[in-house]
């Protein structure tokens, strides 16, 4: 039976990994376990080897770039992972039964933009900006995405949050903004333009909803199921 490394040696491995520019705590855990397993194996084969000698031997098997490639690949894999999950949620609105909600939204916004039904396009624009602002305030209250540690110390949350900024771009670059910002109160759009913008607004609205309520739930589940050892809590 292989003898396990001591608490102190595991601590040394964490320091070693950190000194090799692996700053993400979740990635450090993964590398430390690999190094520890390999060191235990080496020491079993060569009982006279010290911890430091076994570590040198094990680290020499990594490429010349050290752990950089490891971190970069993990970063890219996690980015893809989150993007896939976000996209698959958004695409679920293209299928039954959710497509009815998306269809209704597009139709409703198109009516407002082309006929001024219920409210004017300008009022619609301000409502959407207000809604986005409320979303940010709501998320700020729960706070996790504005905490530095969530952005910088953990790759799983950092890669998740890198997509999160998307919610801002939706209203900062609203094409509607360019149209309504002409100083006129009610600018009604042509049918083709109104369908295009109604679709855009519907997507933006769904994205705001998802990033406020759905995606944080996804992250919460991910942290509970796969990263419980990190003790990362989001409200």
């Amino acid at each position: 039976m292989k003898e396990q490394l001591s608490e102190e040696e595991i601590g040394k491995l964490f320091k070693f990994v950190k000194s090799k520019y692996v700053h993400y705590i979740d990635v450090q855990y993964e590398i430390v376990d690999h190094l520890a397993s390999a060191i235990e194996e080496k020491q079993e084969e060569n009982p006279s080897w010290s911890f430091d000698r076994a570590l040198r031997e094990v680290y020499s098997k990594f490429p010349i770039t050290g752990f950089a490639h490891f971190v970069a690949e993990k970063q890219s894999a996690l980015s893809k992972y989150w993007w896939k999950r976000f996209l698959s949620f958004m695409l679920s609105y293209m299928k039954l039964p959710k497509v009815t909600i998306a269809g209704f939204l597009v139709y409703f916004f198109q009516l407002i933009l082309s006929t001024g039904f219920l409210i004017s396009p300008l009022q619609l624009y301000y409502s959407l900006v207000a809604l986005s602002f409320c979303s940010v305030v709501y998320r700020f209250k729960y706070g996790f995405e504005f905490k530095k540690e969530f952005r910088e110390k953990y790759l799983v949350t950092g890669s998740y949050l890198s997509y999160y900024g998307g919610v801002f771009s939706f209203y900062l670059y609203f094409p509607l903004n360019m149209t309504v910002n002409t100083g006129q109160e009610a600018v009604l759009l042509s049918p083709i333009t109104s369908w295009f913008m109604a679709t855009y607004i519907a997507i933006a609205l769904l994205w705001i909803h998802a990033s406020t309520f759905v995606f944080p739930e996804m992250l919460k589940q991910e942290l509970t199921n796969k990263y419980s050892h990190l003790n990362l809590k989001i409200a």
């Binding site: 490394l5 376990d33 397993s37 490891f70």
Partner: protein, 121 residues
């Protein structure tokens, strides 16, 4: 015994062949063993091939992360004494992918045999 430079060329060729087959190897091992951790996978390959195939850390982990990103693998982390270990297993999509990959690999090997030993066909 092969001359040194020829041996070197064969080593390089083996490495690139191995790199190209790594995804299939990982998926097959995980399908046979239900769940495994990174170091265990590299040791298992060494053991099964009597030290012929040596998977380096620089190749194994990017492959695991790539497959995880594609949704073929999933992982969960558990405590083992004084540290935590990440175990990988196949997702449902991974099971389907495995069948396709193994079939592709078998077809590839069959066709390579036909090219390398045409008299046997």
């Amino acid at each position: 015994m092969l001359p040194k430079n020829l041996r070197y060329i064969f080593t390089i060729m083996n490495r690139s062949l191995l790199r190209g087959s790594l995804e299939t190897i990982v998926i097959k091992l995980l399908s046979d063993n239900n769940e495994m951790y990174g170091y265990e996978i590299s040791q298992k390959v060494k053991e099964l091939t009597a030290d012929e195939f040596k998977i380096t850390e620089g190749a194994l982990y990017p492959t695991l992360h790539k497959l995880e990103g594609k949704g073929i693998l999933e992982c969960n982390t558990r405590s083992i004494g004084n540290r935590f270990r990440k175990y990988y297993s196949l997702t449902e999509a991974g099971q389907t992918e495995m069948a396709i990959m193994l079939q592709d690999m078998e077809d590839y090997i069959k066709n390579m045999r036909l090219i390398l030993n045409p008299q046997l066909s």
